[in-house]
Amino acid sequence: MEAEAAKYIGAGLACVALTGAGIGIGTIFGNYLAGALRNPSAAQGQFPNLLLGFALAEATGLFGLIIALILLFVV
């Protein structure tokens, strides 16, 4: 296999990391909504934690994207 082809395949594979980010963000928002519907009065207090969780989960997926970009533009 040519090195160039392997590079593009690798970049594509690295983007699979974003699946995990999608699942994580979905879980966070889904569980927040489920909790908020059960106890709406406590929902406001947990909103900062929701945003924190969202940002943390999204970042893990982006680490994979960075690997893809490094493969495409740096290696």
Partner: protein, 259 residues
Amino acid sequence: MATQEQEAGGFNVDPMHQFEVYPIIELPMVGGVDPSFTNASLWMMIAVVCVSLFLTLSARGASLVPSRLQSLGELAYEFIANMIRDNAGQEGLRYFPFIFTLFMFVLFCNMLGMVPYSFTVTSHLIVTFALASVIFIAVTAIGFIRHGLGFVQLFVPKGIPLIMLPLLVVIELISYLTRPVSLSVRLFANMMAGHTMLKVFGGFTVAFLSAGGIISAGAIAPFALMVAFTALELLIAFLQAYVFAILTCIYLNDALHMH
């Protein structure tokens, strides 16, 4: 990538071009280091000037009934003060100036990056890594100064069977040492990925428009997506500054109160 777009639309749309650092004022090399004044330096200075102006103007003529600008300044102050109080306790408030400066700088760098044709300072790993290293070194130093050598107990979880301990200490140590990497890469990756995505969709819009005829109408789809992504990016720009500051508070809490 650029050549493909060129063939498709006759426009040179390179999504990575926006991250290019070029010197504005060339300076001679000093000991193998290039101290030239670049566009990155320029936008960092603009961010600092904006923060200073905002806070100076909002604090000027302080009154009991705040003006709009003063309320904004107070909002930012209270926001960070509450964050530190909740996450690092009353003692953490001693480090308020540092965390507030950090938050405002990252926030303004992110927000200024959303202005078209501007430069996003935080989309460069070296900038975020320098910030994260300062935090890491400062927090470790604070921990050792406050607790002496007892600070290494941070790496020894309590209530763990003795057999498991060697393994867990190593894991704790590695997770502690990767903090500056994860903290900096998180901010950098978010800003870079977001801005690249905006430019890629901008390239789609231009390619559709330049195709001519009925196909040009297709440009509405990537354009609408771009508007939505811009709104999302504004949220992310704030959120990442917030996460950067809150994680600093959490690290500080570890150093101040151990577990």
